[in-house]
């Protein structure tokens, strides 16, 4: 098989070429191939195949793969279920971040209610007396807790870009004949290298989304103002919501395009395109994302939408479980914690599954 070397650039064109030679090896081959023509060479002509085969013979397939650099996977090999460590990584990252974000409010609750014989159970009693007196009682700690948690949240969201890059690298590349997961260090290196390009894509997408939503608010309120004297405020409000939902849908589609761009950028870096500038990565990624969206927007939207619906449904189920548990503690609370983590784990799986889907769409479009 053919492997990639770190510093050898694989252009998007080169990536797209192996459609005719639809094997992972052909798709990945590029160290010698500087042009699409070279990409079209058969497996038999690939020179590094011998050492890899030797490794396999001498060390067995897995051990041999340890020594090999990562190669790009073909679309059908890019599956979330083949990369459970990516799901675990995302879940663990979110859990770690959540603990940090939750710590200020936990510390505050512990200080105020920790000495109550029932602890914070009183906050969860129906009626809300303790809850209101705690949250809205004018305690200046609220501002400190809020701002601290916000800073922690923003920090983890920002650093989460690295995790996204890492996850995409794990999805998009593999080792050995069996496409085993790449080393964590290699994936993490991709994530770190992809930080600024991915951040750039995220910033562009956020700006576009903010503009779309801003226009949406303006347009929907204009619709409401126009409709109120004609149809009454209730129907005008419905019209406003419909108008706003349309713009939110556009913003969501922008997010889908942004995800397509993200995976394109991260994959590009993962398979070795490190000589590009950050701006080049951003521009290429956005271009790829837009091309992919134009080619298969319906499929992308469908793939994103059902996962979104499932994700929101899971959140709701988690909230309902909280409601069911109420003020109970001990083993019941621990069971709730486990259930919530299961919900979050499945949500992480949906996220990774969506990124894998986005990768496949990008690759298919590029061919």
């Amino acid at each position: 098989m053919t492997t990639l070397t770190d510093d050898t650039a694989t252009t998007p064109d080169a990536e797209a070429a192996p459609d005719a030679a639809a094997t992972p090896d052909a798709e990945a081959r590029s160290d010698a191939a500087a042009s699409p023509d070279a990409e079209a060479k058969s497996d038999a002509e690939a020179k590094p195949a011998t050492p890899a085969l030797l490794d396999t013979v001498l060390k067995g397939p897995d051990e041999a793969a340890d020594d090999e650099p990562p190669h790009a996977l073909e679309p059908r090999a890019i599956r979330a279920r083949r990369r459970p460590r990516a799901v675990l990584l995302l879940w663990a990252w979110e859990l770690a971040g959540a603990f940090v974000i939750a710590t200020p409010v936990y510390a505050w609750a512990r200080r105020v209610w920790g000495t109550h014989p029932d602890g914070d159970a009183v906050l969860f009693e129906p009626g809300g007396h303790a809850l209101l007196s705690w949250l809205a009682g004018g305690d200046s700690a609220l501002a400190i807790v809020t701002s601290t948690s916000f800073v922690a949240f923003a920090t983890f969201r920002l650093l989460g870009v690295i995790v996204t890059g890492t996850v995409v690298a794990m999805l998009a590349t593999g080792r050995g004949e069996r496409d085993l997961p790449v080393r964590a260090s290699a994936a993490l290196r991709t994530g770190i290298e992809a930080f600024f390009p991915l951040g750039g894509v995220g910033a562009v997408a956020s700006i576009v989304q903010a503009v779309v939503v801003g226009i949406g608010f303006f347009a929907s309120s204009s619709v409401e103002a126009w409709a109120t004297p004609r149809f009454g405020d209730a129907r005008a409000f419905t019209a406003r919501v419909v108008a706003l939902v349309l713009f939110l849908a556009v913003a969501a589609i922008t997010g889908i395009v942004a995800d397509l761009a993200r995976v394109a950028v991260a994959r590009d870096i993962a398979i070795g395109s490190r000589s590009k500038s950050t701006l080049r990565h951003i521009a290429d990624g956005i271009g790829t994302g837009i091309r992919a969206a134009r080619a298969c927007l319906g499929r992308a939207t469908l793939a994103w939408s059902w996962r979104s619906a499932a994700s929101l449904a899971l959140l709701w189920i988690g909230a309902a479980a909280s409601d069911l548990v109420g003020a109970r503690g001990g083993a019941v609370l621990f069971a709730l914690f486990l259930f919530h983590q299961l919900v979050l784990l499945v949500r992480a799986g949906l996220r990774v599954s969506w990124l894998a889907n986005a990768l496949r769409l990008v690759l298919r479009t590029e061919r």
């Binding site: 979110e94 971040g97 959540a98 603990f99 974000i101 939750a102 409010v105 936990y106 609750a109 512990r110 209610w113 920790g114 000495t115 109550h116 014989p117 602890g119 914070d120 159970a121 906050l123 969860f124 009693e125 129906p126 009626g127 809300g128 007396h129 809850l131 209101l132 949250l135 809205a136 609220l142 949240f153 109120t228 004297p229 149809f231 009454g232 405020d233 209730a234 129907r235 409000f237 419905t238 919501v241 969501a252 994103w304 996962r307 979104s308 959140l315 988690g318 909230a319 909280s322 409601d323 109420g326 003020a327 609370l333 709730l336 914690f337 979050l344 949500r347 599954s353 969506w354 990124l355």
Partner: protein, 658 residues
């Protein structure tokens, strides 16, 4: 009027989410709370109005004319009348209403269009003689531009028991909707629209006052016979029963008559949708904009509960009609107001079912039929007598109906109205005294918190401490005994004293008039192995040294909890002691004195203590010092908050969608 500010609390509560079993809705009260107390069937007719009003919806004007029959119901002769011309509150920025530097409550903005009431005719018909009173009317006081409180000198004294007849004609220019009156497009809410005679107290003094931003109204009962003339196609809602309607020359004319009331308001709009239903023998009409069917149904559900519930608590609703007006969303300031047999509600059409603000505002305004309408106390001098009692009655009714989620039962969060009241009561408890005139409050926020919430919280505390049945009966007696009788604060306190006791009455008086407050706190706890006295003892001529180890009882533990009572109110309270093995015991303190030491002795060490474990004293200034863990023992901590906060933080961190 209803004060609403649950939104912030809701948002904050969402951070952690409260849980527990869903509250079960309860039926209305059916057993009268004070059946033995007689009620007046009718009010003394003191000020009766026969009026005709013609609306010009394009100019937003009302032309009015008619007669007023007024009786001197006091014990002294009078030489003048006082007449309220409250639409002039919106005439300019020199009115008492507009120049009050009050924010944070109702009517905070300058109206987009000014409003006026101009008297065109005021004639005293005295037998064959007719006296033009317009020539001598004194609209303003020296140095004051306010024209809402007019003095009308009379050509002769009016003796006690004597009636006089006035012919009046006037022109209203309605303001853009402000402070529950005015227009918004073709919607017109017409309140405080006619020259209205102030109330003459029994001692011959006039209870007259300019229209203040935080103030409301006070008047004598009478019979209102009002003919309303609007363009055809307009739907009218008004005080009283319709006795005649006709269409004439492109105009819709309807006549309304109602006795035993002290005000008259009406509304007209060409877009109202009408729904009617007879509930408990009362014809209930709901007027709402198109598209509000769900909210209309919710308001009717509320009245289906409220009519029998309030009837049992405070006496049967005596009128044959009740009209609910839901103003359009573009005129929110017209909402949340009470007039005899007519109330205005509000809230957006999309309001989720679990957010009970539409039920709360409906039940609150309906409750004003009792605490304002029937017990017509002076709203300007003692606003807590109507708004405070009514807020308590509202919270009591909502709790009886909706249980623990009476304020909010949404997304797993259940908040009682009393919790929101208690919170606001604490936040402003030391600002000003409750029992003062509306115009004396420095801020709208303090007015709202003290008059509405703190009064409601005081009464709720009395109910929880001394017994809800007693409180139900006390307010039931008050509402029945003072129906049509203009009660004062003293009437309320005396009723509480008679029905609940002197201690409760004194607490109420102190809380209302002296900014009374209370804070129970646990300031010390101790727990140790039980042992007898150690040391050096001279016994039987011999000196003996007893070590601590020898006196120790391995199976017993002693300790104590020291509770202090701060503040000027004194309530009996329970203290709960919690041992390490989970056992709990309670001790009652009568609240006398300033400190109370609760001894502990048990087979398990004392772990923690709580004062007022059942949250009876909602007035408690600081609920966060009501409990303590004995030093050296593990704290219960906040694992639930950590778990919930972690879950939601992870969810947010991951994004709501993939």
């Amino acid at each position: 009027m209803r004060w609403r500010s649950l939104l912030t609390l809701t948002a904050l509560a969402l951070v952690v989410g409260a849980g527990g079993p869903t509250a079960i809705a309860g039926p209305p009260a059916t057993t009268p709370s004070a059946p033995d107390v007689p009620m007046l069937e009718h009010a003394d007719e003191v000020a009766s109005y026969t009026l005709r009003a013609k609306l010009d919806p394009a100019k937003h004007t009302v032309h009015g004319e008619g007669t007023i029959v007024w009786k001197n119901a006091s014990k002294r002769s009078v030489q003048e009348l006082w007449m309220h011309l409250y639409l002039n509150a919106f005439k300019n920025q020199s009115s008492a209403f507009m120049r009050a530097p009050i924010g944070g409550f109702r009517g905070g903005s300058v109206p987009a269009d000014w409003g006026t009431i101009d008297l065109k005719k005021l004639v005293l018909v005295d037998g064959e003689q007719r006296h033009d009173l317009l020539a001598t009317i004194e609209l303003r006081r020296p140095g004051d531009q306010d024209e809402t409180d007019a003095r009308v000198p009379l050509p002769r004294d009016v003796q006690p028991g004597e009636s006089i007849t006035l012919e009046v004609e006037w022109e209203d220019k309605l303001p853009a909707v402000v402070a529950r009156t005015g227009y918004d497009g073709t919607f017109h809410m017409v309140a405080q629209w006619f020259p209205k005679i102030a109330r003459l107290e029994e001692d011959g003094s006039w209870a007259h006052f300019p229209f203040h931003r935080l103030g409301e109204f006070y008047a004598d009962f009478g019979r209102y016979d009002v003919t309303i003339d609007v363009p055809s196609g307009f739907v009218v809602g008004a005080t009283g029963q319709v006795v005649e309607t006709r269409e004439e020359n492109g105009r819709h004319i309807e006549r309304r008559v109602q006795a035993d009331v002290h005000d008259f308001a009406w509304t007209a709009w060409d877009r109202f949708r009408v729904r009617k239903e007879t509930i408990e023998g009362v014809e209930v009409t709901v007027l709402a904009p198109p598209g509000y069917d769900d909210l209309v149904e919710r308001q009717l559900e509320t009245i289906r509960f409220a009519l029998p519930h309030y009837g049992a608590r405070y006496g049967k609703y005596p009128y044959p009609v009740l009209t609910l007006v839901h103003p359009p969303a573009t005129a929110p300031e017209a909402g949340g107001m009470e007039y005899p047999t007519l109330i205005t509600t509000g809230q957006p059409s999309w309001l989720p079912r679990g957010v009970h603000s539409v039920e709360a505002v409906t039940i609150h305004e309906f409750g004003h039929q009792y605490f304002y309408g029937l017990c017509a106390s002076n709203e300007d001098a003692w606003p807590f007598l109507d708004e405070g009692l009514n807020s308590y009655a509202e919270a009591e009714a909502m709790a009886a109906w909706k249980g623990k989620g009476s304020g909010l039962d949404f997304a797993g969060i259940r908040v009682e109205e009393t919790a929101a009241h208690a919170l606001r009561a604490r936040l402003h408890g030391h600002d000003e005294k409750i029992a003062q005139g509306a115009g004396s409050f420095a801020t709208g926020a303090a007015y709202g918190a003290l008059v509405y919430s703190r009064t409601a919280t005081i009464l709720e505390t009395l109910a929880r401490v001394y017994g809800k049945e007693k409180m139900d009966r006390a307010l039931g007696v008050y509402a029945r005994r003072f129906r049509f009788r203009h009660p004062t604060p003293n009437d309320l306190i005396e009723t509480i004293k008679a029905e609940i006791g002197a201690e409760a009455a004194e607490n109420l008086r102190t809380a209302l008039f002296e900014k009374g407050w209370v804070d129970y706190a646990i300031v010390q706890t101790s727990s140790h192995a039980s042992h007898g006295p150690a040391g050096i003892f001279d016994r039987d001529g011999q000196r003996e040294t007893v070590s601590r180890d020898k006196t120790r009882n391995a199976n017993r533990y002693d300790g104590y909890v020291l509770v202090v009572r701060r503040g000027t109110l004194r309530f009996p309270v329970e203290i709960e002691l919690v041992a390490v093995d989970g056992s709990r015991s309670r001790t009652r303190w009568d609240g006398a004195g300033e400190t109370f030491r609760v001894p502990y002795s048990g087979t398990s060490p004392l772990r923690a203590a709580v004062v007022d474990p059942d949250e009876r004293i909602l007035l408690d200034d600081d609920p966060h010092n009501d409990f303590a863990t004995v030093p050296g023992h593990s704290k219960a901590g906040a694992p639930r908050v950590l778990e919930r906060a972690t879950y939601w933080a992870a969810a947010l961190l991951g994004g709501l969608t993939p």
